[in-house]
């Protein structure tokens, strides 16, 4: 498994796990979710950065050459294809959010819905990268 594929796995697993905790607590936070979400979101982002940086350092230790090397043409192509798919997911999600936003839900719900769409798009991007790395392995 290449270094880039490992980092895609790190991104996929860490984002899925950490944001699952955030959205779980957001759903079950009741009427006081406004302030709790800001603190919870900050904690989530910090946790995500720490986990991703720590795991990437560990992976880099085992393959230092690959970690230092720039992306080659195949890796760039995989990255572009995955980003294109994620963009389609993001655009579709935003279109749905705009449609359902017409029902006038609270503003915090809207922010969380948009964040959810963004997170799902990012997870989709990592998943697409992994699939393409596996296909051409």
């Amino acid at each position: 498994m290449s270094f880039r594929e490992k980092t895609a796995w790190i991104s996929l697993i860490s984002m899925s796990a950490i944001y699952a905790i955030y959205f779980w607590s957001a759903i079950h936070s009741g009427p006081h979710f406004g302030t709790l979400h800001l603190g919870g979101l900050l904690e989530t982002v910090i946790a995500l950065v720490i986990v991703q940086v720590a795991l990437t350092i560990v992976v880099s230790i085992f393959s230092p050459k690959e970690a230092k090397a720039p992306r080659d043409e195949r890796e760039k192509l995989i990255d572009l294809k995955a980003t294109r798919t994620a963009y389609a997911g993001l655009a579709t999600g935003i279109a749905f959010a705009c449609f359902f936003g017409g029902f006038n839900p609270p503003i915090v719900f809207n922010a969380n819905a948009l964040l959810f769409i963004l997170v799902v798009s990012e997870i989709l991007r990592s998943a697409c990268q992994i699939i393409q790395y596996r296909r051409s392995a």
Partner: protein
């Protein structure tokens, strides 16, 4: 469906059993990319194809073949 076949595996063998890693380092790509090219799962850019041919000292058409299946 058209496919691009190549002779990289044979040429590596003929060049002192050059490893995929050694070839990858010579053409500035990862070993996984060399493996993908060799297996026909990834078609390299024209630039990478020329670099591969240059490593083996062969013309491009001796390394890569364009096959149009009927």
């Amino acid at each position: 469906m058209a496919t691009i076949r190549n002779e990289i595996r044979r040429l590596r063998f003929e060049h002192g059993e050059m490893t995929q890693q050694e070839l990858a380092e010579k053409i500035n790509v990862t070993r996984q990319t060399v493996n993908a090219i060799e297996l026909g799962k990834y078609s390299p850019s024209l630039e990478a194809a020329f670099r591969i041919a240059a490593v083996f000292g062969k013309p491009l058409e001796s390394v890569f073949h364009y096959c149009e299946d009927e």
